[in-house]
């Protein structure tokens, strides 16, 4: 059982590490500590679910991995090099880093800022100085893949939530990143869009992309990822194991506030079972 002593999954030495964090902590300028002593290695082609309650630091960890914030202490390595403010100020190094990592934000409205969907998808490749004709080809192909060709000339603010999410994903995938970070990708989606998103992530994972998904959707997590990193509420890593093992450990999930006890009565019999809004309910009976 993981609840007694969290197992830490470390990629084998011969595996190629895309991203690695060594004893990383992070605090915001107001002093709020969000991440504590995070040790993490992410190998090429892995699919990882970052699980944790609200405020546990999932989004901050994704921002760290994307180089949007730098650790307060500890070191971050990406694609064989150290990532710090110094490296990110070097335009050449920063461009190389950005080219290989893409981030789909939780709030699509913040990510979509261009006048049309076409311009939105072209923004990333233009900043990375890709040739114009190649950008045009990529836009057409990614739009066809995500079935948004009919949206290309529409303004993003006129789209529905699901369409905005598709455009946000297209605007990241068009740069062909090696690592794709997604922050709560299933939140606010209807069942069909949710299913489409999961299938897309599986396809990307099968194509060799490294997928890191921050979520507290315990039903979707095992379908999107194989490895789970569970964050405790104080920002430390509570467990690093396979998704199935992590989700089977109800003690761990209850401790990190991902599930809670649900008590109800059937006549004179009181039922109490760990509960989350997924399919996995385990019932225990009390007299």
């Amino acid at each position: 059982m993981l609840s007694s002593s969290p197992t830490i999954h470390r990629p084998c030495a011969e595996e190629i590490l895309d991203l690695a964090l060594q004893d990383v902590s992070f605090a915001y300028p107001d002093g709020t500590k969000v991440l504590r002593n995070v040790d993490l290695g992410i190998a090429r082609g892995e699919s990882i679910a970052l699980l944790g309650a609200n405020g546990s630091g999932k989004s901050t960890l994704l921002k760290l991995l994307d180089g949007l914030v730098v650790p307060t202490s500890g070191q971050m390595h990406a694609f064989g090099g150290i990532i710090s403010n110094h490296e990110l100020r070097d335009e050449r190094l920063a461009a190389a880093f950005r080219r290989r990592i893409g981030f789909v934000f939780q709030n699509s409205d913040a990510q979509l800022f261009s006048s049309t969907v076409r311009e939105e998808i072209a923004f990333g490749p233009l900043q990375l100085a890709l040739p114009t004709h190649e950008i045009d080809v990529r836009i057409a192909e990614i739009a066809a893949m995500l079935a948004i060709t009919n949206l290309l000339d529409r303004p993003p603010y006129r789209l529905s939530g699901g369409e905005k999410r598709k455009v946000a994903i297209a605007s990241v995938l068009v740069s062909n990143p090696t690592v794709v970070l997604l922050d709560e990708p299933t939140s606010g989606l209807d069942p069909r869009s949710r299913q489409w998103l999961i299938e897309t992530l599986v396809a990307l994972s099968n194509a060799g992309k490294t997928i890191i998904v921050a979520t507290h959707d315990l039903e979707a997590a095992p379908r999107m990822a194989k490895r789970a990193i569970v964050l405790a509420e104080d920002g430390s890593i509570a467990a690093d194991a396979s998704v199935d093992a992590a989700l089977a450990d109800h003690g761990l999930l209850a401790r990190v506030n991902l599930i809670h006890d649900h008590v109800h009565w059937h006549g004179s019999v009181c039922h109490s079972h760990p509960h989350h809004h997924g399919p996995d309910h385990e019932h225990t009976h009390q007299p």
Binding site: A27, Y28, P29, D30, G31, T32, K33, G55, K63, D66, L68, T72, N85, H86, E91, A94, A95, R98, R99, G102, F103, F105, N107, D109, A110, Q111, F113, S114, S115, T116, E119, A122, F123, G124, L126, Q127, L128, A129, T132, I135, D153, P155, Y157, S171, V172, S175, E233, D234, N257, H260
Partner: protein, 652 residues
């Protein structure tokens, strides 16, 4: 509170400027000692914020208005000396480009609003805040109190400066030479407005903004100096522009602030035209008048445009000033780790409903009290909501027209920008009505071929142009300015006659404004914003302006929708019509909230841009090749412009 040039004697203005000189010198030294270039974005952001909130006029008694200033907010954030620099920048921009406050009177205005207000307000804030934490509500309340006292102090300075004029400067017959009302009038009139509405609004805006910034973790001046450098201010100031979407709120209050009247209005109120005032009004340079009176006469759209322009100019001015004033700091940001204990969170206890929540709802609002509330005449918030919705829709429609088929829409944006700007320059050099009429016809034809509603466009432009330049055109039509053959006598005692040369001058002036307005409208309506900004960048316009304009315009709709949501949410919880004082308070809170929200949004947008490779310079798609039709259009417009100029020179 912005004193115009004509109401102060030149000696008073010069004395005030001389009094401000050591303050400016000391402020520049203190700012160099305490701030680095890393603080430039925050200073620019604060100055631009002050500029924008000064456009939010609030009605007070007597048909006059007042508005918040924001000087104490800036002092609380950056210190009082930085507030001197920031407020001076904002006031100078207003005087130079927006005809708000006199050029010669800049020293007097700065003395009141850039010196007295931030220092008095900051002292009160420090006393009231005591040793409270930088994130405490007490500190925000202290800032609100300081803002209240600060604006009252500034208004007292203005009242004294205006009120001493009749006693100090009189003509041979003993009548005032400049401002005609004495201290017995100015002190109660100005102080009463600021002790009530102005002071309360200033306090509410300052308190709300500080509270929002505290919740976002923004350190206040003197509380967490070490962490200030870790805040990435350079990402945040773009978000301020979005607040300008609310600028039309200021148009709901009609009338000028007390003492900010034009010379003619002041003469009408005093019963005579003071001779020194008239001479100063004629002789004083009134600045560049880029957007006089913030284009408030042209409606909410132009008012918002003026707000954006003000943000950009103020931001640029402060940025340029900071380069000279502040020390350059390039060290990597450091984050201090306060020795806080490891905090643990626990689940809240299971909710137990209070008894009143379980009881059945009883209608406790009596018919009498409901009737009383509903009888208060006020549609302030509702009109605001409507104006915001209409503005957002207009913005969206403009982009739809630009993306439709049409003659101008098919042209390359760079060619179109160059040609229409060239025609505007030609328009500025034309002196005859026929020449200008040629350009009117050309613009109307281009608009018609572009499927624009040219009738509606012309109606708006022609309705706005006389209002825009009426103050200048009307005197120009009289025999005082343009003597010549009399067209008709407007007034017999005092004798005012309109002359034919005067009428011609006034018509030419109005025609110029109308033509330039039509050409600018054609450019904006027929060009998608992204293409327009791309063309501006291609033609080497400063990237700061184009980037700020582009990002601001993109997020107007998001922030406007947020504002609309807030009004709808309030309406859903309001019974009957709200009282004026409640509506004012709510608007102040909305301003503060949206300020914080626009900052947070700017942070998110910037992260999303950086994540996709943005490194401080937006790369746009390579422009398409200029087609033959673009060259032909450019050549045609240049030829027509040159032809009209040549024809006019022959006729003259």
């Amino acid at each position: 509170m912005h004193i115009p040039d004509s109401v102060l004697s030149p000696s008073t203005s010069l004395a005030a400027a001389a009094a401000m000189a050591p303050v400016w010198l000391a402020a520049s030294r203190r700012v160099r000692a305490t701030l680095s270039t890393r603080d430039t974005p925050l200073l620019a952001l604060s100055s631009a914020f002050c500029f924008v909130i000064m456009m939010f006029n609030l009605p007070v008694f007597g048909g006059t208005t007042t508005h918040p200033l924001g000087a104490v907010l800036m002092a609380v954030l950056l210190g009082p000396w930085a507030a001197v620099i920031g407020m001076t920048s904002a006031l100078a921009v207003q005087a130079l480009f927006f005809a708000d406050g006199g050029i010669l009177a800049l020293g007097a205005n700065c003395f009141a609003m850039a010196f007295a207000m931030p220092f008095v307000g900051f002292c009160v804030y420090r006393l009231a805040a005591g040793r409270s934490s930088g994130t405490s509500a007490r500190r925000a309340a202290a800032a609100g109190l300081g803002a209240y006292v600060g604006i009252v102090a500034a208004s007292a300075v203005v009242a004294v400066l205006l009120g001493i004029q009749p006693a100090l400067f009189q003509d041979a017959s003993g009548r005032p030479l400049y401002f005609p009302f004495g201290l017995s009038v100015t002190l109660p009139a100005i102080l009463a407005a600021h002790l009530t509405v102005g002071g309360m609004a200033e306090a509410v805006v300052t308190f709300s903004a500080i509270r929002c910034l505290q919740t976002m973790g923004v350190p206040l001046w003197g509380t967490q100096i070490n962490t200030r450098s870790a805040c990435r201010w350079d990402r945040l100031w773009v978000g301020l522009g979005a607040l300008a979407a609310l600028a039309p709120l200021g148009l709901l209050a009609s009338g000028d602030a007390w003492g900010e009247w034009s010379a003619t209005e002041l003469a009408a109120r005093a019963g005579h035209m003071p001779s020194g005032l008239a001479a100063m009004d004629q002789a004083a340079w009134k600045g560049f008048q880029l957007l006089p009176d913030y284009l408030s006469d042209l409606g909410p759209g132009f008012y918002v445009l003026a707000a954006f322009t003000g943000i950009a100019i103020t931001g640029a001015a402060v940025a340029l000033l900071s380069k000279r004033l502040m020390r350059v700091e390039s060290a990597a940001p450091t984050v201090s780790e306060p020795a806080t204990a490891v905090h643990t969170r626990s689940l809240p206890p299971t909710a137990t409903l209070p008894a009143w929540l379980q009881a059945e709802q009883v209608d406790s609002v009596s018919a009498a009290s409901r009737s009383k509330r509903a009888s208060v005449p006020n549609a302030y918030a509702e009109r605001t909501l409507q104006a915001l919705s209409v503005q957002t829709l207009d913005t969206l429609r403009a982009e739809e027209v630009a993306r439709s088929d049409g003659f101008l829409q098919a042209l390359d944006a760079r060619t179109k920008l160059a040609s229409l700007v060239a025609l505007m320059v030609v328009c500025a050099f034309l002196h005859t009505i026929p020449g200008l009429c040629c350009l009117v016809l050309l613009a109307a034809y281009a608009g018609h071929r572009s499927n624009l509603n040219i009738g509606r466009l012309q109606l708006r432009v022609w309705a706005a142009a006389p209002l825009l330049v009426g103050a200048v055109a009307l005197p120009a039509a009289t025999h005082f300015v343009n003597p010549g053959s009399i067209a008709f006598i407007a007034w017999r005692d005092p004798y005012v006659a309109v002359t034919w040369p005067g009428l011609t001058s006034a018509t030419v002036l109005i025609l110029r404004v109308a033509v330039a307005g039509t050409l600018a409208a054609l450019l904006v309506l027929s060009t998608p914003r992204s293409n327009l900004f791309g063309a501006m960048q291609y033609l080497r316009l400063p990237r700061m302006f184009t980037s700020v304009f582009a990002m601001t315009l993109r997020y107007i709709s998001v922030v406007a929708e947020a504002a609309v949501d807030l009004f709808v949410a309030r309406k859903s919880r309001t019974i009957g019509k709200s009282r004026l004082v409640e509506a004012r308070g709510f608007v102040g809170r909305v301003c503060g909230f949206l300020f914080g929200r626009s900052l947070a949004l700017a942070e998110e947008v910037h992260d999303a841009m950086v994540s996709r490779g943005y490194s401080g310079q937006v790369h746009v798609a390579a422009p398409s090749r200029v087609a033959a039709c673009d060259v032909a259009w450019l050549a045609c417009t240049l030829l027509i412009g040159a032809g009209v100029l040549w024809g006019e020179s022959l006729a003259l």
